[in-house]
Symmetry: C2
Subunit: 131 residues, 2 copies
Amino acid sequence: MTLSLPDLTKNQSLVFETLSQAEAPLSAYTILDQLRSEGFRAPLQVYRALDKLLEHGLIHRLESLNAFVACRHSHKHQGTTVFVICGRCGDVDELTDQVVNDQLMQRAVERDFTVESAMVELRGCCGSCSQ
Amino acid sequence: MTLSLPDLTKNQSLVFETLSQAEAPLSAYTILDQLRSEGFRAPLQVYRALDKLLEHGLIHRLESLNAFVACRHSHKHQGTTVFVICGRCGDVDELTDQVVNDQLMQRAVERDFTVESAMVELRGCCGSCSQ
DNA sequence: AACAAACACGTAATGTCATAACATATCGAT
DNA sequence: ATCGATATGTTATGACATTACGTGTTTGTT
Ligand SMILES: [Zn+2]
Ligand SMILES: [Zn+2]
Ligand SMILES: [Zn+2]
Ligand SMILES: [Zn+2]
């Protein structure tokens, strides 16, 4: 099954392909290095593409790593996304949880706080790496 | 009630005082600038003090801001701490929530993931700033 | 006291992540 | 064809963090 993607420009496609094929989160500068053979020369070429891909929801930024991953969800995100990040192999899984989301929003409302964005990241060791 | 603090060195005390008196999260370099009059010259002086203060649990690092705050809890942290960060005034509140913590741990266990650390940060607008 | 280990500190250099500023090019609608 | 919006190329700079090396200070042991 192929996702119907928004039209991506050349640079956006290159960055997205790079992230999609990676097995772990990549920093913008790592992406830059991998795309030098395609003519990339400067960080801004990467960051601009990343910005658009983030807007489209095709990728995510992991705040605790200063790195980026292609989205693994085939469905639209609803509520807060929880990122589960293995520190050994770098694998990143993502999940949405109604209970977590509702509880966070409830606690925010209680204190009259308007949530504009939420970050939830679990760092640790995945099943495969624990064997 | 005064906390019984671990013995802090001169540099650690200076950094902790700076953070304690701040009304918003501070970056390491902002702390450095504020402590130049006290003889601080290099980022490492700040980062080393921050490391120790983090170990002692006296301060927290906000991953989504690359900045630090003094802990506002008078009690020991149990489980995941949720940081609630106002983007207007910079105020940071922290709370612990059993439901959020248990649900996150449950979802981790389900997928055989061992959590080593969890980060939860809500960005938005606080009650005072919404008036 | 003498010694050694552990810890804290000072300094310079470097590494890593991200954006500002400015110029040029491409595309699409009128 | 012209115009506005978007995308791109390039250089420089800003912001966050660590490596490497040397020195000083404390502490526990002999
Ligand atoms: Zn996703
Ligand atoms: Zn793993
Ligand atoms: Zn705290
Ligand atoms: Zn506020």
